[in-house]
């Protein structure tokens, strides 16, 4: 069972994850049209790149944009949630040990307490994301079961992994649950709107190019995001 879960199934998950995300990016770029989008993407490359980078970088900086400044609570929630999601699995000691055993490679790892804190932070911030979906009417109207499902898929590997790492009663169950939920997440990322993992950069980059090339980028100082 363990062999299968961490062998073929893991491979399959990673395959779907990487190929899926590449397909997403390729499909996105191929679907752009200078005439239909009304942005001369390829004719003003330096303005385009500048606009795209500004659009991406300011939004990746906590409090880097007016939106992030005027909504501090949501900003903290968002960054804590995402930093936890992205950093923890990649730099987790346990994951690196497995990598080392399998392929002989590994990289920097997080100290145990830091990893634990990040994991708990993901779980707690997800809880708050659920609460705001229930509490705020402007979010409620947009929310459907699908949004909760995706939050569950995202948080499950963290929740189960945390319990497994505590070696609580029923350890094998939590370990299997962790591996399976992790694989579900990997598969879900390219197939659902979690594909924003790459499409965030595409979409932000595109709007940045739109402003950089057409909507004032050549005349003003660049949009104050």
């Amino acid at each position: 069972m363990y062999q299968f879960l961490t062998g073929p199934l893991l491979w399959l998950s990673f395959l779907i994850f990487f190929i899926g995300l590449i397909v997403r990016v390729v499909w996105y770029v191929r679907g752009l049209s200078w005439q239909m989008d009304r942005v001369a993407y390829t004719k003003h490359v330096s303005h385009g790149i500048k606009g795209a980078l500004r659009s991406i970088i300011f939004w990746l900086l906590p409090f880097g944009t007016r939106r992030w400044k005027t909504r501090p609570a949501m900003t903290i929630l968002f960054f804590v949630f995402h930093i936890g999601i992205v950093i923890t699995p990649i730099f987790l000691l346990a994951h690196n040990i497995i990598l080392k055993e399998r392929w002989g490679i590994s990289w920097a790892t997080l100290p145990g307490p830091v990893a634990d804190t990040l994991t708990i932070a993901v779980i707690v911030s997800a809880l708050f994301l659920v609460l705001r979906r229930i509490a705020f009417s402007e979010v409620r109207i947009l929310t459907s079961a699908y949004d909760y499902l995706l939050l569950a898929i995202t948080v499950a590997p963290f929740f189960t992994g945390f319990l497994a790492s505590l070696k609580v009663a029923g350890y094998p169950f939590w370990l299997y649950a962790h591996i399976i939920s992790g694989e579900i997440m990997l598969i879900a990322i390219p197939l659902t709107k979690l594909s924003h993992t790459v499409l965030f950069f595409m979409s932000r980059g595109q709007l940045g190019m739109d402003y950089g090339i057409k909507r004032g980028g050549m005349k003003g100082r660049g949009l104050a995001w």
């Binding site: 499909w27 996105y28 770029v29 191929r30 679907g31 752009l32 049209s33 200078w34 005439q35 239909m36 989008d37 009304r38 942005v39 001369a40 004719k43 003003h44 659009s55 939004w59 007016r66 939106r67 909504r71 949501m74 968002f78 705020f136 009417s137 402007e138 979010v139 409620r140 109207i141 947009l142 929310t143 459907s144 949004d147 709107k193 594909s195 924003h196 499409l199 965030f200 595409m202 979409s203 932000r204 595109q206 709007l207 940045g208 739109d210 090339i213 057409k214 909507r215 004032g216 980028g217 050549m218 005349k219 003003g220 100082r221 660049g222 949009l223 104050a224 995001w225």
Partner: protein
């Protein structure tokens, strides 16, 4: 009755069609016919298939449903934070549904889409600045308007407006003769006060080719005279075109892309004919958006640039003040508190926020920024064609509240609004709410304080 006589899927290309629509007062019959109009679901599905590509589909798909765009939208704010006014909801419940159902929608649904695309969104593009993914509902509603137009679900005034462009290449029924006559008339009017003043028509190789809004010609021709006087004082070598003189585009508000193309091509044709160094628009926001920013794409220019460098009126004013072509008498600067209406179309979407401030520093002593301002400013409340649509007057008037409160918070008495739509909206705002403000284009303000060189003054006898 699938297709009405007035409300149908055929754009207005003839005087007869146009007259029939105009005769239908306030579009009463037009909207009655709309209730019977069939949706061509196949055509809608095909249009989606062919034109709703990765950018739009990605926006629809990856929306995190986070609600961060909600309070970016003026209509959400003024309507007591009605969740139905959340930009993401507005687009998901219209375009999102059309895509999901592959065009399988009915008449009532299309009327909801039309009402949403024109009365709950002015395509001001503000929400796109507040969405972490950069999902721009303004762009999407622009697209939706195109789908609606093709199906005949378009507000009566805009069906007429796009027809005007198709027939007159102007947003109103102003013919080439009317235009030239107005130029001559305005020139003659100035004979006594401004000896030697000309409104040069069709001069080749001029430094500036000036384009106007037909509204000026029809309703306030003095605007043209003021422009001429300022060019005269500044010593500009300028001209207007006898054909292609009008550069607005109600067809853009209507979503009539074919008419947009016809209109800008007529303007660009005049560039070819007259070979000016630069083109300058009058004080109009959407004209700049249509002819300078979007037009090159409608015309099929891969460079995305108009054939001749184009500037907005404020750019010229900034330049003229900076270089001393226009000199302001400091004693005549405005003393009362002044604020500036940042037009979405050339500030947010045109990057001209700085030059607007530069101008104000020359003309006003007590300038007060609205909050928020520059590219973050709220739409005047009448953009995207909304000002002119009778069916949505209550929604438009509600939307003005946000601008009213912004202006009141500054304490300003004068609102400088170098955009026709903004100017109209602020005039209506004063009419509805009586907050005791005045509003102005730049031209009359400049004329009230500019220093006139001795040699241009009429000789005393």
């Amino acid at each position: 009755m699938p297709e009405g006589l007035l409300c149908n899927k055929t754009p207005v290309d003839t005087m007869e069609q146009l007259q029939a629509l105009l005769n239908d007062r306030r579009g009463v019959t037009y909207y009655e016919e709309m209730d019977q109009l069939d949706v061509d679901q196949k055509a809608l599905a095909t249009a989606i298939q062919n034109t709703c590509k990765s950018r739009l589909r990605t926006w629809l798909e990856i929306c995190a449903h986070c609600g961060l765009c909600a309070d970016a939208c003026p209509y959400y704010l003024v309507n007591d934070k009605d969740p139905k006014q959340v930009p993401a909801h507005k687009i998901q419940s219209t375009l999102g549904e059309i895509v999901k159902r592959k065009g399988d929608v009915d008449n009532a649904f299309m009327q909801y889409v039309m009402d949403t695309a024109w009365s709950r969104c002015t395509c001001c593009n503000r929400c796109g600045m507040y969405c972490p993914f950069g999902i721009d509902m303004g762009i999407m509603f622009g697209y939706v308007r195109g789908l609606c137009f093709a199906q005949g679900f378009v507000p009566w005034e805009l069906k007429i407006g796009s027809g005007m462009h198709r027939i007159f290449r102007a947003q109103m029924d102003v013919t080439q003769e009317d235009w030239i006559e107005t130029c001559k008339w305005m020139e003659e009017e100035q004979e006594d006060d401004w000896p030697g003043l000309k409104i040069p028509i069709d001069v080749e190789n001029a430094d500036l080719l000036y384009t106007v809004n037909a509204r000026e010609v029809k309703h306030y021709p003095e605007d043209l005279a003021e422009a001429a006087i300022l060019f005269h004082i500044a010593g500009e070598n300028w001209t207007v075109a006898s054909e292609g003189w009008e550069a607005t585009s109600l067809s853009m508000f209507a979503g009539d892309w074919a008419a947009c193309k016809m209109q800008v091509e007529t303007v660009y044709e005049s560039f070819k004919r007259l070979k000016p160094k630069r083109m300058i628009t009058t004080e109009c926001g959407h004209m700049y958006r249509a002819t300078v920013l979007e037009g090159p794409y409608w015309a099929g220019f891969e460079s995305g640039q108009p054939p001749v460098e184009c500037i907005h009126y404020v750019e010229w004013v900034g330049e003229a003040l900076r270089t001393g072509k226009l000199k302001i008498d400091p004693a005549r600067k405005i003393k009362e508190p002044v604020t500036y209406q940042d037009s979405c179309n050339y500030i947010r979407n045109g990057g001209l926020g700085d030059v607007a401030r530069e101008i104000i520093s020359y003309v006003a002593e007590d300038f007060r920024e609205m909050s928020p301002c520059r590219e973050h400013n709220f739409c005047c409340g009448g953009g995207g064609g909304l000002n002119g649509i009778g069916r949505y007057r209550p929604q438009r008037n509600k939307g003005l509240e946000i601008k009213r409160d912004q202006i009141l918070a500054t304490g300003a008495k004068i609102v400088v609004a170098p955009c026709h739509n903004c100017w109209d909206a602020i005039r209506d705002l004063e009419e509805v709410f009586h907050i005791d403000i005045s509003w102005s284009f730049l031209k009359p303000l400049l004329l009230s304080m500019v220093e006139v060189p001795e040699h241009l003054k009429p000789e005393e006898d």
